[in-house]
Subunit: 364 residues, 2 copies
Amino acid sequence: MLDQISSPTLLLNEQICRNNLKKMADKAKRNGMKLVPHFKTAQSQQIGEWAKEYGIREITVSSIKMAEYFCGQGWDNIHIAFPFNPRETKKINDLAKDQSLSVQLINVAVTEKLAMELENPLGFFIEIDAGYGRTGVAVTDFELIEGIMRMAIKTDKLKFKGFYIHAGHSYYEKDIEKLYDETRAALNMLKNKYRSEYPELVTRTGDTPGCSVIEDFGDIDEMGPGNFVFYDLMQVNLGSCKREDIAVALAVPVVDIHLGRKEILVHGGGVHLAKDVLTEPDGSKNFGEVVFLNENGWEIPSERSFLKSISQEHGLIKASDELLAKVKVGDLLGILPIHSCMTADCMGAYLSLNGQIVDHVEGH
Amino acid sequence: MLDQISSPTLLLNEQICRNNLKKMADKAKRNGMKLVPHFKTAQSQQIGEWAKEYGIREITVSSIKMAEYFCGQGWDNIHIAFPFNPRETKKINDLAKDQSLSVQLINVAVTEKLAMELENPLGFFIEIDAGYGRTGVAVTDFELIEGIMRMAIKTDKLKFKGFYIHAGHSYYEKDIEKLYDETRAALNMLKNKYRSEYPELVTRTGDTPGCSVIEDFGDIDEMGPGNFVFYDLMQVNLGSCKREDIAVALAVPVVDIHLGRKEILVHGGGVHLAKDVLTEPDGSKNFGEVVFLNENGWEIPSERSFLKSISQEHGLIKASDELLAKVKVGDLLGILPIHSCMTADCMGAYLSLNGQIVDHVEGH
């Protein structure tokens, strides 16, 4: 399989990916929750088929374009976890003809446009901002919540499904348990407040660090993590997983070795990995870590080596003595990504360990 | 033209792009230099055709895949400005059948592989590291330079063209004049040292900040800047250009407005813009700046507004009062990119101001 690779190629270890899917599906089941994984990470119909084997019937995506890619694949529902963009009303009308879809609403203006122009049934969640500050209705802004609800009932096409929180500050906050106390409390309060009016409403949370680490989800009904299908070094850093759980590695050709500086130059840069970065304890930057590739996948070296800098196509590895002793020009190395969602999006396809291309949404 | 846009779309202002091409072509001519623009930025056959109108006959690219995209388009030569990756020897043999190509060599191992396996003529530059430390032979490492030369003459297929310096530290160094003193001196020294043996050797330099700012290139023969065709905010910051010279802007739909926080949420994130970032004087991050779109292109507001944070698909604008007074949900805003090469690579296509799709290399 490695012989067929001449340029940067994203390797996918199916077994690790399936383990990650199974583990999260088991956890959801254990907690009586529905798992609706976020496919902004994998963006793959093939990986969708694997997910179905673990009882997954619905998925989440982050754009209409991505929803379109998964339409007609037998999903019970596709949830577009993004504040609905009113310029795409025509597209949602087209897609919703043949596929059960839901969106997120956070203001009255967009709800009104949908209420007036929707031609087919469409579910919606109200997205709640539980303090992350990126998007969503403030958890105590009942006026806005009820404004959206009142506007939605002007049409029989919009169906309120419940409340969604993306606790995205779990990526910054070290105390995920404390954060989940707030998430649980917020969703519980909203459910109690509105369930007499909407007896079928559900609550959903969606971040990988939380879904990986937390054991007690209280009465939250659904989870929608995305990154867990592959994981990455950012998640290792957050404590969501181990390096061994990372399911993708970028194979990069070695083009030069500088023994004096202990540096290795590879073909693999920002257009392949994206530019997400971690900071090492000594302040140096880490754009991805080296693994040794073999025909069965990859092996994590005992001494760490990492990409200390990248430009558009170049990557410069700060190399351990172990790596320098092994490597020669023309070899392939593997790079575990910092942020696998972005790396997969840059690469636009995967190569499985048995040499098969695995699909990914193309373009944006 | 704006009516047809419903999701993030990269707008290209042909007139600004042509002005940038013309200005650099004029500057090269004024200095008696050959301009060999680096198409890792535009990655477009159409923009290649525009370049030809300004007398450009050769281009630079950063990978074999990109070279392949431009083969058969009538270029006198395509230079692959990347240390040659020996795993791609078969590909270079295939491409070099019908297209004049050149590569960069920085070590003996790869030169030896080419000397043994090349089937068609191939030019090469020796890339010199003038202190940037990313890649290249140290300027005084004559042993390595001559090692490469000696290995290359073992075949009649490899033709030494000269020395190439990418003075990439012009992106970090404020004193570009001083830097160019070193670049000029290094290339001049190498030319004098080897031109009795290689009378046709040329010297080439390649960074946009240097090529934009410097007026005296000494006896450097060729220039290969890339970013100048579009420019971007990083280049504005470096003093290479003005905001008005930026030829691309990402059109993004407004999905929510938070008057209290003076924030605007748009559909436009890391998968569209890439994650290159500038730091504002107050320490906040800037992932791109807002312009007002109109049917003739865009207008730079008198008060700055910028993307203070982005995630995979979300962008959060810190908005001026001027912007807040004008904007409503469902509008389109333009975002000038921090690093246009990366944004164009993420988007994979352009929309011209008259509504035509302009091509870009797909995938990696």
